[in-house]
Amino acid sequence: MSSDYIPRLRRELLRAGATEPSRWAPAARGLRPLAAAAAVALVVLAVVLVVPWRDEQPSRPVETPPSTLQLTYRGEPSSAADSARVMRERLAAAGVRDASVSVAAGGSLTITVPAAARADVAALVGSGRIAIYDWERSVLGPRGTPAPRDADVTGDPDAGRSAATTKSVAEGRAARAADGRAVRALSAVPDGWFALGGRPALTNADIQGARPDVDPTTQEPIVALHLTADGRKAFTTLTRELARRGTANAVPGAGVEAAQHFAIVIDDRIVSVPFIDFRQTPDGLDGAAGMQIQGGLTPESARQLAALLSAGPLAADLEPEG
């Protein structure tokens, strides 16, 4: 049998899909102002959804002069200098020009940026703590302990979404476990929470740098993480363990339904739960190649997320003053 119908249909489908917006444009001409407003609203919404861990707007914006914003955040005197350094590095990494960060009496931080950079600042004032967990071994069930083989706890194959619970239930489970914490589910489940227990496999200390990039295969925006020597070892060890566990759990001749996941948590939200395909990489992934955060990112949010992770974490979120 030498049919090429499946690839021919694929090519035609994607070719037509690529021209979809231009075909719709003439019909929408009369609605352009509305469409433009809707597009702006969607961009704003996307920023809020993709960077949900920092959605507070700073208080008391003072325009000095009109093209400049001055934003003030509460801080602890003991950590204010460090916070100012981190914010300067994050703003520089995000490409915000003409930004200044100063420490006022009492430890508050005053951030002065061009008015157009308001969304960047809002995305950068989170603590920026990253933690990477072995999902099946860390997500906690009703007893406050992991249940790696229970799909009603892990949500497999929809890890990070399915089996999400409420915030109060997650907090209750987390309270019973060592190093337990409640985290928000993937943004597709806005009200969902999970409880994670135990120490993460990797943290900020294992991240050497972060930069926005584009996946060469899919052209999707990503954040590429470069790992320290310890981070490379930890990532290699983590993914090898996941691959071997997937192999051990697999039904002979079946697919990847036994694949194991790791979860990337930034501040209090799960941002990605990839799985390791044990058939393709039975020994896991080489940490020397780094890792990437992918899924649901726009070029803007990838730039902001890379900047958030580029300069180490803050002692705590910066809260707007007032």
Binding site: L9, E20, R23, A188, G255, V256, P274, G296
Partner: protein
């Protein structure tokens, strides 16, 4: 850089056309088999498959992961296309026209391949599934019964039925040569 793998839902929602292509790769064989078994006509099965994917392409931004898995969503579209076909006695091309798709010809070899998928994929491969997945796939995909009905008759939760169907489809997709 290490390769990571993404769920059907992530592929559908990414907005990237190549991701949609990867989603297509995962399910095109299962859809061709689905339509072939119901119509016994490879040309119609091919038409309905193309129309289903065109509809999924147009509607993917409205897909809501909380409501259904991406596979269940795709098969719900397929089911509607099948009902339209059975009512009208002919396939429609509304979504393909909207996308501006050109017809994709079905050769004798293509028809043979689709017949084979209908016979082999939907019968033998389903039989080879673990019993819980096999029964769930038979009931939902081959017999068109909805999740709630299956859950009632099997004394299972609806979530469990969904999970078994989802896992069974993943196995079928992999065995049919779909790529992840």
């Amino acid at each position: 850089m290490g390769t990571v793998h993404y769920t059907d839902e992530a592929l559908l929602l990414s907005g990237d056309l190549e991701d949609f292509g990867r989603f297509y790769d995962r399910y095109v064989r299962a859809l061709l088999a689905f339509f072939q078994r119901r119509t016994s006509n490879p040309e119609v099965a091919a038409d309905l498959t193309a129309e289903t994917f065109a509809a999924a392409m147009v509607a993917r931004k409205r897909y809501e992961p909380r409501a259904a898995t991406a596979a269940a969503w795709l098969f719900a579209i397929a089911h509607n296309k099948l009902i339209d076909y059975q009512r009208r006695g002919s396939t429609e091309d509304r979504m393909r026209s909207r996308l501006g798709m050109e017809p994709v010809a079905v050769s004798a070899e293509d028809a043979e391949m689709i017949r084979w998928l209908g016979e082999e994929v939907a019968s033998q491969m389903v039989e080879d599934l673990p019993p819980d997945q096999r029964d769930a796939i038979r009931a939902h995909v081959l017999e068109d019964r909805d999740y709630a009905e299956i859950a009632r008759s099997e004394r299972l939760s609806e979530a469990t039925v969904r999970k078994r169907v989802s896992r069974g489809l993943r196995v079928l997709r992999d065995r049919a040569g779909g790529t992840r």
